[in-house]
C-alpha cells in the first residue's frame, strides 16, 4: 500500500516535466502571424475535403466490445495461472485444469463464432 506514494509522486514529476516542456516551447518559440491556410486542418496541403463528420467503420467499436469481453476472460485466467501450481502440488491438478478448460472451451467457442460471423473481417 505504501508503494502508492511513489506512484503518486512519480506521476506528479512526469506530469510536471511534460507540462514544463509544453510551456517552455511556448515561451521560446517564435510568434508568427498566422494565415488562414495555416489554421486549416492539415490534410497534406490539399484544401479540407469536408467536415469532421466522417463515416468511420463500425468495426472499431465492435473490436472494442470484443476486446472488453476477451480482456475479462484473460483477467480471470491470471488468478488461475497464479494458483495453478499450488493446486497441482496439492493433488488437485485435474480439477483445476478442467475448471479452466471449460472456461477456455467457451472462450474458443466464442472466438470461433466471431471469426465465422465475419465480425473480425476488415476490408
Amino acid at each position: 500500500m505504501d508503494a502508492i506514494v511513489p506512484i503518486l509522486v512519480l506521476t506528479l514529476i512526469v506530469a510536471t516535466f511534460g507540462s514544463l516542456l509544453v510551456y517552455v516551447s511556448s515561451i521560446l518559440g517564435p510568434k508568427k502571424h498566422a494565415t488562414h491556410a495555416k489554421y486549416m486542418p492539415y490534410e497534406c496541403g490539399l484544401p479540407g475535403q469536408e467536415s469532421s463528420k466522417t463515416n468511420v467503420s463500425v468495426r472499431y467499436y465492435l473490436t472494442a466490445i470484443l476486446f472488453i469481453v476477451f480482456d475479462i476472460e484473460i483477467l480471470f485466467m491470471y488468478p488461475w495461472a497464479l494458483t495453478y501450481r499450488e493446486f497441482v502440488e496439492a493433488g488437485h491438478g485435474a480439477y483445476i485444469f478442467w475448471v479452466m478448460f471449460v472456461f477456455i472451451a467457451l472462450f474458443v467457442f466464442g472466438l470461433v463464432w466471431e471469426v465465422r460471423s465475419k465480425a473480425l473481417e476488415w476490408d
Binding site: 463500425v58 467499436y61 466490445i65 472488453i68 469481453v69 475479462i72 483477467l75 480471470f76
Partner: protein, 106 residues
Amino acid sequence: MLSNLFSIGIGHYLFVSGALFVMGMLGVLLRKNILVILMSIELMLNAVNVAFVTFAYYLNDVNGAVIVLFVIAIAATEAAVGLALVVLLYKNFKEVNIRFFEHLKG
C-alpha cells in the same frame, strides 16, 4: 470530531461509496443523454464495488474481493451491451435523448 477526519476507518470509505452511489443515481434520474445515463449506471456499480472491498478489508473476509471481480466483469459486459443498443438506437433515430424513446407508453 476533527480527529475522525485523520484516522481513516471504514466510515470514510463507505461515505465515499455512498456519495458516489447517490451521484450516479441522480445522473440516472436527471440526465437527458442516454450515454451519460449509462455512465451514471457505471458510477453506481462502482460505488457498490467500493463498498464491497471496504467491507472485505475491514471484516477480513476474502469473499468481498471475489464478488467484486465478478461485479466488474458483469458490469463491463453490461456496458458493452448497453453501448451496442445505444449505437443501434442512434443509427436508426439519430437521437440520444432518452425522452425521445417513450414508445412503451401505456
